[in-house]
Symmetry: C2
């Protein structure tokens, strides 16, 4: 219960700030961050989907939007004509870096006010142990 409430309130607050300051939804930002950390800032669409826990169809539509904004581009794959990569554009890169700054500040503001550093770490550790993240790649955002 607390989990659900905390999540709903937290995503609402952080999402609203991201939206206001950068015109991005949390999902948009999430995808951009994945690309930011990927080699050459490129990823297969399906890998993005798995990473951010959306379905492939969700990713298609989400990337449509980011492409229209000029933040990401497409690149096809030589060895497998089925796959297409999403790549961060120059503009997308700048956008990510700006949004990352302010998003981190927002998070610090909320979590920092409530929890000591040690407690934040504890929280992270407990959440990581839930048997739910299929590809729980490390990510320090």
């Amino acid at each position: 219960m607390r989990f659900l409430r905390a999540h709903a309130a937290l995503t609402r607050e952080l999402g609203a700030r991201l939206e206001a300051e950068h015109g991005l939804t949390m999902s948009d930002f999430d995808v951009l961050i994945q690309l930011y950390h990927a080699p050459e800032h490129a990823m297969r669409r399906i890998d993005i989907a798995r990473q951010v826990l959306l379905t492939p169809s969700g990713i298609t539509r989400l990337l449509d939007g980011l492409e229209r904004c000029g933040l990401v581009g497409k690149r096809s794959c030589d060895s497998d004509a089925r796959v297409s990569y999403a790549v961060l554009t120059e503009e997308g890169l700048r956008k990510v870096e700006a949004a990352r700054q302010s998003h981190h500040a927002d998070i610090d503001e909320i979590f920092g006010a409530a929890l000591e550093a040690k407690e934040r770490e504890q929280l992270g550790e407990l959440l990581a142990r839930l048997p739910l993240a299929p590809t729980a790649k490390e990510c320090s955002e």
Copy 2:
């Protein structure tokens, strides 16, 4: 990050089970539980909204559905003609009790497998301290 991932996976899993076993979404269940714990199993619609972190319009539509299923009914207020109460029906009461059982079992299965009792308590305590729950009424679900 871990928080977002854990939430997405958790709600997906629990939501799917609730849907399969009882035909309820998480939000439906959430509302029913609030009513279940309320005096006379009745609440003002706006109080439900605040409690489950949905907007009033979301509550209107959600309750529409539950009313069509015969799980809740309406009751008007004598002292204030603006408010209307949502009340659990007999059938709704039975439904809640059944769903509660199996939902708790699902939660125990997931959390119990991952965390010791003491850790679960710790997690709950940390989440409760986030400054995000406007009306963080006690609720032990």
